[in-house]
Symmetry: C3
Subunit: 294 residues, 3 copies
């Protein structure tokens, strides 16, 4: 694996090799000693940025957080020149978040053969490390990922998290991905998905429920009356969770809008694996980096 740009670029074998790597990491380790990793976040983020920063530092890498606000791109330097300059400085791996879809596909063309690139989220397209940490978390709870009902609920249309997760589940052989969303927020490429007609259909006998963050600005834009209405129709509440299997796990990529897409007591409850996802995020990102530099 040279880059990690689109989860669809990975085979089932590669994903399993990354998970094996994750489960065998020891700390402090030095797999990336002498390597330099640059975090280029063109969109604000603390959560994912810190997760990557910790992952790289735990592996012994030198980490540079590029301050985009003060960078030469603000002086009119092209993205290409920024990337190639950093690469010339000896950056061995770029971790890039960008609001534009497919930015990494473009960046990839400018890289030397040895330089690595990890997509940390591009527009509403892909967020492959999130998909890896999500499926890694599922696998810690469910023995056979192929034969379980996984329901993804919320703004699927604009969600790179959902996109990458669906792709990753397809690669891993799951054929029971259910989605439920306000009509305007349903996925545009619904193949291989079971579109649910109501929350009940999505929740019933589910093994895994993935709630997505709803961006408040979407609600107004898509004619959803208000947050309460969203919570009532598309939020996960205790009543609705009872429809799922008794050992159903509840996931959320964070940050959580408590009381909007999910009731607080569920986010903090026994079935929630939200903090496990966060924990696995660092681990899986370490594994991806270690695997790339093997």
């Amino acid at each position: 694996m040279k880059h990690l740009i689109d989860i669809k670029d990975l085979s089932q074998e590669t994903i399993k090799a990354i998970f094996l790597q994750a489960s065998t990491l020891i700390s402090p380790s030095k797999e990336l000693a002498g390597k330099s990793v640059a975090n280029l976040f063109f969109e604000n983020s603390t959560r994912t940025l810190i997760s990557f920063e910790l992952a790289a530092k735990k592996l012994g890498a030198d980490v540079i957080n590029v301050n985009i606000d003060k960078s030469s791109t603000k002086k009119g330097e092209t993205l290409r020149d920024t990337i190639q300059t950093l690469q010339a400085m000896g950056i061995d791996a770029f971790v890039v978040r960008h609001s534009d879809n497919k930015t990494c596909q473009t960046i990839k063309k400018w890289l030397n053969p040895k330089t690595k690139l990890i997509n940390a989220g591009d527009g509403n397209n892909q967020h492959p490390t999130q998909a890896l940490l999500d499926t890694y978390t599922i696998l810690q709870h469910k023995q056979d990922i192929t034969n379980i009902k996984i329901s993804i609920i919320g703004d699927i249309k604009h969600s790179r998290v959902a996109n990458s997760l669906i792709d990753c589940l397809n690669i891993l052989g799951n054929n029971s991905i259910h989605v439920y969303a306000p009509e305007q927020l349903l996925p545009t490429r619904p193949n291989k998905l079971i579109i649910c007609k109501d929350f009940q259909q999505a929740a019933s006998d589910a093994d895994v429920i993935v709630m997505l963050r709803i961006q408040k600005e979407r609600i107004a834009k898509h004619a959803i009356p208000d947050l309460d209405n969203y919570h009532h129709n598309f939020g996960l509440t205790n009543d609705k969770l009872k429809l799922a299997k008794i050992d159903c796990i509840v996931m959320h990529p964070g940050p959580v809008n408590r009381g909007v897409e999910i009731t607080s007591s569920i986010a903090d409850g026994n079935q929630s694996v939200i903090l496990e996802q966060v924990k696995n995020g660092v681990l899986v990102r370490q594994a991806v980096l270690a695997y790339m530099f093997k």
Copy 2:
């Protein structure tokens, strides 16, 4: 010692153990290798932030400076979710500065048994590492801390530095803490303190004089005519310093308003230990971290 939130939580023995740790630290050391420390500064600060950053790095820790301005708390994430998310990422110790009193008391409840918490200043309540570095500095100059006259001068009422220092001196057995301030800026809990009626009483035969930074906005608010008036009545000048013992040391937590609470020539003079305080700050914070993870 699990956390360091309020200096009053420490016994005399613990304080002495930390000072022993400080005096035996060697550099580069690796007591915190493989540990991750997050600096969460909700108030601007460079001085204390860098002091903690250096202390943690010198011990071999991975240090994350959380950019609060760009963090998820700005997206409406609760402080609890921010803390628990970082903790799930593997942060082993939090260093927190916050404008609200007792923030660390709240944060403490959300932490796992092994996670450490250091209060780097909360409102006008506590700044325990400052008290430790101050008393550590005094002990380098005065053999017996119990029998010396220590005068704290300035805005004691709003000063977490003064609060923690007074508590720490009490724990260490000093019974001669004098304070002098504009009436409106006297401490609200004056027990165990000797309130001086004028600068002369505070300075006379003092072994240690601690000048506090006056925030310029307080001056207007508390009907002090102007900075010159403040300097004249409450600033340390050469004349006033002559009233103290000949080996009296002059302290200030910094940053110094030269010509306001202290004359420049004293700040830079032989009796000033201001830069020693800064130096000991890194050392004592290293000692606190090393001691916590022992």
Copy 3:
């Protein structure tokens, strides 16, 4: 070498010793283990800041990027107090960029005998590490630096890059430094320089052409009609480059204004060593740091 403030402070022997150091560095190395380096950039910069950050980290130093926007200097602390406070915290080397000429000359006076200082660019005065990386790059392409024609083209008057490079070439014994610029942007101290009357004179038979970044605000200020006009008269185009020697190398300190001072195809072409300069920047800064702490 205690500090690196002005390239003119270095002898030819010292420069050669730094270059030898650069060519023998191995990675990961630990020459600066246990040392702390503070980057104090009072002017925005990513390129030079990251280059120094990487150089220091690759040597095993603890690196502190001081956030000037949030620092105590904003609270009215003097520059002297900021420097002395950081020094007391154990900073072993300062890397300073400032918009005022000779800031480092002033800072130098406040430092302890063991503390190092590197000028990372001051006003339009000096940028000594840029001169070192530029001449290091030239030496990788030209056997004898004394006997080659080097032409520097653009806003020489306001360029610390040009200033330091000219000084460094003088030290290394080159006597064929040609400059070409709009009349208002010619150097104010033209001794030892050959002022060209047109681009043709500068480019003809040149071994090295150094194009300088033109700041767009200068163009209006100095009555140059527009960017196209500047490009036509002072920009490097394929036609003009043909006048130079066939093995002439093209340099630029970056960031490049493509289509203004240089045609894109030249910046990316075979004769361009722009990315080599960037690469050598990290290496030479490592060498300077390692050499200082020897």
